[in-house]
Amino acid sequence: MKGLMTVFYKEVADHFTSWKGTILFVTMVLVSVFATLGPQGAIAGLRTQLATPVQYGFGRFAFLYLFTTSGEMPSFLWFICAFLVPIVGIVLGLDAINGEKNNGTLSRLLAQPIYRDAVINGKFLAGVVAIAIMLTTTVLIVSAIGLAVLGIAPSSEEIARLLLFWGVGILYGAFWLGLAMLFSVYFRSVATSAVCAIGIWIFFFPWPTGGSLMSMAARLVANVLAPYQQVYTAEWVRNAGIQITASRFSPTLLFGEAISVLLAPGATTAKQTLQLLTASGALWMPGAPSLTQTLLTIWPHLATIGGITALLFAISYVRFMREEIRAT
């Protein structure tokens, strides 16, 4: 345990003192400020909506609107889902192991009296904590801006939903971290592991206009498995079903759906959920589901993201533990 904590402290300190960590941190802060306060950000969008005749009530979740609405710019939610969390996870993990190998520090580290898994566990844990700290900061910044500029205070349910969002965000970050670390265990070159992780990120990346490479691939699969001639037929429904199932292999989509339900519980259709991640903003329904209902809805999403993350980490773990240190 001592070894694990030593590695962990060093890595956390590293994440926040290195250039890499500083740049990530500053980027996150800037993006969250911009998405909220920027000329086309959430608050500007909110003002426009307030100026026009009210189409959609804010319901019980006026405070959350800060996170989910968008002016011309995509919402904070989209930035978190598409950009910030994946990038932070990838950057913190991509040279975790092979960086130490190339640097010649791994053999020195492993010659110290610590269990070998202290290295990989400590690094993973440190990455998760760094993600948690960055996510906390950004959520607090957006909330502070909301309180200061709009003067709305969050209700207790909103706070609960934000806390859940924070937890889910960390889980999603852990997925990207685990993915990047997996490549860093398997590939000797940091460039290779970076390219692999970024490739997967691009594949899952949700475009601001909706869709992703993944969803295109899902459509392709659906069209092969269940071709249809006409819309509103049984084949069409089957095709759509396959498309949705296939798309949900993407943790980005799962995360996007989960946080949409959490932070914009009024949006009830898939289209609205999707729109939340894109430019068109939220549509609010008066009868939003309760927190318990929301949790029940997103539970499978969370379990899946958690499962994939655990699997990725387990593969890296086993590979790293079995790897033989060789003379070069």
Partner: protein, 312 residues
């Protein structure tokens, strides 16, 4: 009284795929030894070290350090063994003292000891003024010295140094070697130093082992090795004469202790038991020979080294 055996391997063998990298190695290194582990590149030195540290599993055979099995009790072995890998690396964007403190903490040193130990150790190698500099700004030689500092911070009973002098300028090498020798003496540390530079090993080691193709071809105390290797304590003396005659050769042959005389132009190669230079000179002069030059072939490890390297 026999000294305690610190490092012991029994039939230690490592195969990678179908090549045997280390072949039934039997090593015995005693407490306080500075053991020079010689061998050409790829002889299996580093693989042996990795097995000693429990970082690589042997295919067969065992390795023990202070009685702890390297494969089964690697943590106990690593607690008392310091290791400087060949391509030693530090975290470039952290300071020298942070890098060393990290090692100290990984070794469970109490926090109040850590910084003191780091400062003292940096003082010994003369890097005190660089303590708060990032290691990325260090030269190769400074990094190698920092690697030695890493050992000082850990203060192990056994230190394994893999090519500790690679990449350093000649003067730095001498300093480094003397520093290693001093540390071994002052801290009563057993040291295993890998090298393919023979003179470095000769400078500080009291015992050497030479590994060629995974086999230990010679092993023993440095000053005994030369004699053994050149054929049961025999010497070769090279004599240059102004004119060589067969009578002269016969004269030399008659000296007791001379085993063989070979002639090559004006040169005579005399194989004898012991240093017979005075007797040979006298014999030649008594026979009216004109002695120009006489050389005794020193028992340099160099010859053995070359001999085995040629074979390898």
């Amino acid at each position: 009284m026999a000294k305690q055996v610190v490092v012991e391997t029994v039939d230690l063998t490592k195969n990678y795929d179908k090549t045997t990298v280390v072949d039934k190695l039997n090593l015995n290194i005693e407490e306080g030894d500075i053991f020079g582990f010689l061998g050409p590149n790829g002889a299996g030195k580093t693989t042996t070290i990795l097995m000693l540290l429990g970082l690589t599993e042997p295919t067969s055979g065992t390795a023990h350090i202070y009685g702890y099995n390297s494969t089964r009790e690697p943590l106990k072995v690593k607690r008392i063994t310091g290791y400087v890998p060949e391509k030693v690396g530090f975290y470039d964007d952290l300071t020298a003292s942070y890098n060393l403190a990290y090692t100290a903490r990984l070794n469970d040193l109490p926090e109040d000891v850590v910084m003191k130990r780091v400062e003292d150790s940096l003082g010994i190698v003369g890097l005190s003024d660089k303590a708060e500099h990032q290691v990325g700004t260090f030269s190769k030689g400074m990094k190698q010295r920092l690697a030695i500092t890493d050992i000082l911070v850990k203060m192990p009973k056994v230190a394994i140094l893999d090519e500790p002098t690679s990449g350093i300028d000649p003067e730095g090498i001498v300093q480094m070697l003397d520093m290693i020798a001093n540390i071994a003496k002052e801290r009563n540390m057993t040291i295993i130093m890998c090298s393919h530079q023979l003179y470095q090993v000769q400078r500080i080691c009291n015992r050497v082992g030479m590994l060629v193709n995974g086999k230990l071809v010679i092993e023993g105390l440095l000053d005994q090795l030369g004699k053994d290797a050149l054929g049961g304590g025999q010497l070769r003396i090279e004599v240059k004469l102004a004119e060589t005659t067969s009578e002269l050769i016969d004269c030399v042959r008659r000296i007791s202790g001379v085993v063989n005389v070979e002639r090559s132009g004006d040169l005579l190669f005399i194989t004898c038991l012991g240093d017979l230079r005075a007797q040979i000179a006298k014999a030649i002069i008594n026979a009216n020979g004109l002695l120009v030059e006489m050389k005794i072939q020193a028992y340099a490890l160099e010859d053995i080294y070359r001999k085995y390297f040629k074979e390898a």
